[in-house]
């Protein structure tokens, strides 16, 4: 590069790259180092190098494993419900009806509100709304305060996350459906394919790129869930809904075990990267060329 070009290159790229390095790259590198250190977060206290001890500690941490199980169970349930609902919505609103646009707007709305606030809205519904419904309808087996039952509190979390994310996946599925040429579906119709056949033999295969994105988004979103978790259940009852992200946060800032918490955080990164990349590779393979 000529000297003048170098100057312009630096002027254009360096401000952002320096900020990015300070905020993402350096913390990541230091974060890896912290995971080999024992420290309580108090600046004047010593940081002791302990090698892999923190990682060994995690393997004896029953609560971390149970948070892993909750996260896994939550993620699988959420993956299915978010995408089924999002896909159903997208099919309902892509037929040129005048009210479709309004419905789209409504279905997407919760996504804009923000996880923390969604959690609080539903907290009221699950505690008082459900109690009221149970008393009115007599269906107290279904409508009771879900947030005090370990099992149902997890389902409550799935419902709120689904409410938040379904509209988001709907938007992506709509984009995919609109990309399918009408002639293809018309031709199949002429050939006598019924609605179900057209859906499963034409629409779904051609929607594979949308599936890749939506599954990726829901998977990583569900794995990293924190604010809905915090406001809806705060991990309770008795840690039964404590997810990965919350467990890491509590380990570091709650109990002041900075090293162990950071080791968990590094492990968390590896798991998220591994799971999401595997999913993308698998679904990418299933994509067909038009």
């Amino acid at each position: 590069m000529k000297r003048k070009d170098k100057f312009w290159f630096g002027l254009f790229t360096m401000p952002l790259f320096i900020i990015f390095t300070t905020v993402v790259i350096i913390p990541f590198i230091i974060g890896v180092a912290y995971s080999f250190i024992s420290w309580d977060g108090i600046a004047s206290n010593p940081k002791v190098f302990v090698g892999l001890d923190n990682y060994v500690t995690i393997f004896h941490d029953e609560r971390f494993f149970s948070s892993a199980r909750h996260t896994l169970e939550f993620t699988l349930l959420a993956l299915v419900s978010v995408n089924l609902l999002g896909l159903a919505f997208s099919l309902l609103v892509t037929n040129g009806l005048r009210t479709s646009k309004l419905a789209r707007t409504f279905f997407f709305m919760p996504n804009l509100i923000g996880g923390l606030i969604l959690g609080y809205i539903w907290k009221f519904i699950f505690t008082d709304g459900f109690k009221f419904l149970g008393g009115k309808t007599g269906l107290e087996e279904i409508f009771f305060n879900w947030l005090i039952s370990p099992r149902f509190a997890l389902y409550a979390l799935v419902i709120v996350f689904t409410w938040q994310m379904a509209g988001y996946t709907m938007i992506i599925y709509i984009a995919g459906i609109q990309g399918i040429p009408d002639e293809l579906l018309e031709a199949a119709k002429v050939d006598g394919a019924n609605w179900w056949h057209r859906l499963t033999k034409i629409t779904f295969p051609l929607l594979m790129p949308s599936f890749t994105i939506c599954l990726f988004m829901t998977l990583s979103g569900a794995f990293k869930i924190y604010d809905v978790n915090l406001s809806l259940t705060n991990g309770g009852p008795v840690h039964s809904t404590e997810m990965f992200a919350m467990n890491i946060f509590n380990e570091i800032f709650g109990y002041g075990r900075y090293g162990v918490g950071q080791a968990k955080a590094i492990l968390f990164f590896l798991i998220v990267a591994l799971v999401t990349l595997t999913q993308v590779i698998i679904t990418k393979k299933k994509e067909v060329q038009m």
Binding site: G31, L92, R104, P110, I113, F132, Y258
Partner: protein
């Protein structure tokens, strides 16, 4: 479909969408009710429309201040992300060398890192900058905006990069021949052509900044600096929940979002689709 069945389908669709939004209905109706009325029937319309709970919630949440704080942080973040990442992405596309490839890879490959992996060391770095370089990164809106820019850089550079690759270079070359500096070429010729992707980047950033809770909760400790999300959290944390007042508080927090959605609806939906598909 025939006309009548289309009409029925249309109506059913709206009904379904309204049922989907019923939690918002429940929130709003209960924000007007007295305690007794709320526990008597959580689903019914309120008998009296009293604004007293809104007033109380507004005071407790310090609503106007936190609204201003959120707006300041969001606008600051979006403006800087748009300016810096469009400039960076353009340079990275237009220079073909090892450094630009390395920088692009650095932006992209870090996208998978969850915030939880970075939060503790990030706070250490910011603390170090505060004590050694005397730049107040913690407990300032400026510091929060700085960190937001860093976290939003990856996706913004990625989106701009993809878009700029399809922008023809001829106009830029012509302008350069006419004696325009790189700065002039970018701001006068290139940036106006990036309008659609700029809207996408801005929309995505507005939503994620406005709704962010975790980073502000770590960075801001002064009560006067709180954003809407923080204020909502403390509103629910500090008192035993008085639900009617709480619902009034939540309704208040949703009003700005609804207004934003109503105004920018078309762009939001388009922005989300583009941001995800790219």
């Amino acid at each position: 479909m025939r006309r009548t069945s289309r009409a029925i389908y249309s109506i059913l669709l709206v009904v379904l969408a309204l049922i989907f939004l019923s939690p918002i209905y429940i929130m709003i109706v209960n924000s007007f009710k007295t305690r007794a009325e709320l526990y008597n029937n959580a689903l019914a319309l309120p008998e009296s429309f009293s604004l007293q709970y809104f007033e109380a919630a507004m005071k407790k949440m310090n609503f106007l201040t936190v609204l201003g704080n959120s707006a300041f942080v969001t606008v600051g973040t979006v403006v800087f992300v748009v300016i810096l990442s469009s400039m960076t992405a353009w340079m990275l596309v237009r220079t073909d060398n090892k450094l630009s490839k390395f920088m692009f890879m650095a932006f992209i490959s870090t996208m998978l890192i969850p915030f939880q992996t970075l939060m503790m060391p990030l706070m250490q770095v910011m603390d170090w900058i505060r004590t050694h370089l005397h730049i107040p990164m913690l407990n300032t809106h400026g510091g929060l905006i700085f960190m937001n820019i860093g976290f939003h850089a990856s996706i913004a550079v990625f989106l701009y990069h993809g878009f700029i690759k399809s922008v023809p270079i001829a106009l830029e070359e012509a302008a350069t021949l006419d004696g325009c500096s790189k700065f002039g070429v970018f701001w006068r010729i290139v940036f106006p052509m990036l309008k659609t992707i700029t809207i996408t980047v801005a929309i995505l950033d507005v939503i994620s900044t406005w709704n962010d809770y975790l980073l502000p909760s770590l960075v801001l400790s002064d009560k006067g600096l709180r954003t809407i999300q923080l204020s909502t959290f403390y509103f629910f944390g500090e008192f035993t929940i008085v639900w009617n007042q709480a619902m009034a508080g939540l309704t208040l927090t949703i009003i700005p979002v609804v207004i934003f959605y109503a105004i920018a609806q078309k762009y939001i939906i388009k922005g989300i689709a583009e941001g995800a598909v790219k």
